[in-house]
Amino acid sequence: MAQTSVVQDNLRKEMKDPYRRQGRLLRTWNHNKTLWLLFLPCLLYYLIFRYAPMFGLVITFKDYNLFKGIWASDWVGLKYYRMFFENPDFWPLMKNTLLLGLYKLVFGFPAPVILAILLNEVRKAAFKKFVQTVSYLPHFISNVIVASMVIMFLSPTGGLINNLLGTFGIGPVNFMNEPGMFRGIYVLSEIWQHIGWETIIYLAALTAIDPQLYEAADMDGASRMRKIWHVTLPGISPAIVITLILNIGKVLEIGFEKVFLMQNPAIYDTADIISTYVYRVGMEQGNFSYGASIDLFMGIISLIFIYSANYISRRVSETSLW
């Protein structure tokens, strides 16, 4: 008996030895081979399609010649950055972009949270489903259509909204000609378009709340509002914080198409943003380097935003992206 156990021990040692000699990396590889293989396509995807193209950013410092290729193009240093910063419209554009983004964040962000909580309180399943479906729909309408719908509805010559206002003896208001109204109109139309779609994540978070918490609150005699305040909201707060951080990172990323289609010279004061500027300048020139420089600049600002938001969130609460 004793002998066999020695043999077995030796065998075991021999089997283990190779692992010991080969070091940790190979050991984990051998241990999790299948998992690694499963991960491989994803890794390749990120390397090839996400990381490799980043080297293309070098064109922001070059006079990119499409025909000669990136490497053969001439270096121009910070020329394109200077071109952007020295442009007389730089500050107004920056201000408009930031403000529009902020408005969208301040008013657009809470909207789906509120809708999700309201939906959660609806007891009739059929009604809830109906509202959900209807509110998703606008998300699938193209921006081109939405922009012309907005313009037509708000038109002072036979637009729906002005007809409505007319019956109350108001107007007609020339909505799309008032620089002061543009941001409001834009943000409202954004909310209308995306509110339903954005509730999905909160509705998912809501289902994860333990029903016992509500039962316990009931036992304590909590009212509906109290339950929302003390059970529902804390329950979905991690989801809220994460989306908020992500959205802060996207403040400057305003869909170009819609703003471009909605703007007109009378409202350039508020409606001209960096991306619409780039489009107009790009049309004159088709300059990839210039466009890429502005994009990189915006990307860096967004990174600062998202990093600060995450930092604050980590300090204040326990939720953070990393």
Partner: protein, 522 residues
């Protein structure tokens, strides 16, 4: 403006209207303009009948999508021996071109939407400079003598020619004033010859039809074209423009005549003669206004004459949209329409192609009289018949679009120089009339469109864009009254401070350079 044309309009799905080409000074209504520069050089084409196949990236129009089976390809092959292996862009043409150039997989022939693109790629080394092959292009050489303006417009800043020039097709790009002749007659209003008369006419109409906005235009959809129209009426320019009398470059939007124009439009706005949202009016809204009798005067592409008449006469036989002579803005001013009848797009040859000389032979055919007839009319007996000296489409062809759809004639890559009478012959009488009238109000010269160097392009795009934005914004504010016209001097100062002098100097330099280029060696 041309950039807007190339980008904004396709967005507005008005691509057909813009896909026109460049016009020379020939009168489309007179068959006399069909002189044959390449007549004596035609042997060159018969020599080149060897079979060749070239690859080509062509534009694709949704109204008549590319077909391999179009008879036009066979006709071209019969004449030149050439078969094109065509690719069409899967998305936008500009993107397909960028991709082709960046991947260094250039087709032999490429259709480029405008000269700016072809000059850019040409200067980067991707395209063949046609000037170097003029000995292979006898017909084109002769053609350039006949159409020197067109040829010069096709030159790049360094005096090279990267795109085959074209002529004739641009006629469809004409823009005109139109009015409801039936309504004017019914109300006993004379067709206005000046803006003052126009103003009175619009006021009368507004009084008779209080619900209407007698003058309506889709300014917001095609702002640059509209600005050009309006400023030409007032004898000025929408930006930097060349004054042929004074032989100098001037900046229109700071001139007194421009101020008068703004004042007139402000009156129109204040008195409800134009829609209050004319800056943001959608094409559909504008169409509805014009067709439902809410507007009686408009400015747009010439083919809209038929567009409205054909659609409306079914339910309202009285409906009669007709050409209106452009009103003159200033006292004693000329009645002029802008010079829009040119086309910016065209074919280019890849510098990497292995068949450059054969391609030159092939393309030269299109500048011969035979080539022109083929591109315009097709083949005798199959698509057209000759009655004496005049050519006529066979009776089964009644509509230009249908004709192009069926034959492939005048689709991307099948023409450079066409006889616009081919189109004209298929138009309705109203549209024919409009064309006949329109040429009477052409400016004497086409505004020069000099090619810029890369440095100059930077000035145009950065400084020029800042100026343009301020111009557009100020026009909107002055007209809608959010800025008082009394502020005009301040506005002039502001816009000058943005660099008008620099802009004008850039145009002048580019223009002088192009003027000094000798077109051909002989």
């Amino acid at each position: 403006m041309n950039k807007w044309k190339s980008v904004m309009l396709p967005l507005a799905a008005a691509a057909i209207l813009v896909s026109g080409c460049s016009g020379g000074n020939n009168n489309p209504a007179s068959p006399a303009a069909t002189a044959a520069p390449g007549g004596e050089a035609s042997p060159a084409t018969s020599e080149a009948k060897q079979a060749h196949t070239f690859t080509a990236l062509l534009d694709n129009n949704a109204t008549f999508p590319y077909s391999k089976d179009w008879p036009v390809w066979g006709w071209i092959k019969d004449q030149t021996g050439v078969t094109l292996e065509v690719q069409t862009p899967s998305g936008k043409l500009a993107e397909a071109l960028n991709l082709a150039v960046a991947s260094n997989a250039l087709p032999d022939l490429m259709y480029m939407p405008n000269r700016k693109e072809s000059n850019k790629f040409g200067q980067q080394g991707a395209l063949v400079d046609l000037m170097e092959y003029m000995d292979k292009l006898p017909n084109l050489t002769a053609w350039m003598k006949q159409y020197p303006d067109e040829a010069k417009a096709a030159l790049s800043a360094d005096g090279k020619m990267y795109m085959f020039p074209n002529q004739g097709f641009g006629e469809t790009n004409r823009m005109i004033w139109m009015y409801r002749q039936d309504v004017f007659e019914k109300e006993g209003i004379q067709a206005p010859k000046t803006y003052d008369e126009l103003h009175t006419a619009l006021k009368t109409l507004k009084a008779k039809y209080p619900d209407s906005y007698p003058l309506s235009l889709r300014y917001g959809q095609i702002p640059d074209e509209m600005n050009t129209n309006m400023t030409v009426n007032y004898g000025t320019g929408e930006g930097a423009y060349y004054d042929f009398d004074a032989k100098e470059w001037r900046y229109g939007p700071t001139e007194d005549s421009y101020k008068e124009m703004v004042g007139m439009w402000k009156q129109f706005y204040d008195e409800g003669l134009i829609p209050p949202d004319f800056l943001s009016l959608q094409t559909k809204q504008w169409q509805d206004m014009v067709s439902t009798g809410k507007s009686f005067v408009t400015v747009d592409y010439i083919s809209r004459v038929d567009f409205f008449n054909n659609a409306m006469r079914k339910e309202n036989p009285e409906f009669n949209m007709q050409f209106l002579a452009p009103p003159a803005g200033l006292e004693g001013g000329k009645q002029l329409n802008p010079y829009f009848h040119y086309m910016e797009g065209g074919l280019t040859v890849a510098s990497t192609s292995k068949n450059i000389e054969d391609i030159m032979n092939y393309m030269d055919f299109f500048y011969s009289e035979d080539g022109r007839t083929l591109s315009s009319w097709g083949v005798e007996g199959e698509t057209y018949v000759k009655e004496g000296d005049t050519i006529k489409f066979k009776p089964e062809f009644t509509d230009v679009i249908e004709m192009r759809k069926a034959t492939g004639l005048q689709t991307s890559g099948t023409y450079t120089w066409i006889d616009f009478n081919a189109h004209l012959s298929l138009f309705s009488d109203d549209l024919k009339h409009a064309y006949e009238e329109a040429v009477k109000y052409d400016p004497a010269n086409m505004q020069p469109r000099p090619a810029f160097t890369e440095k100059e392009n930077e000035v145009i795009s950065i400084t020029g864009q800042a100026i343009k934005k301020h111009r557009d914004e100020s026009f909107a504010k002055f007209v809608t009254g959010s800025r008082k016209l009394a502020d005009w001097d301040k506005y002039v100062e502001e816009i000058n401070n943005l660099g008008v002098d620099k802009l004008l100097a850039t145009y002048k330099e580019a223009y002088d350079r192009v003027q000094n280029i000798q077109l051909s060696s002989n």
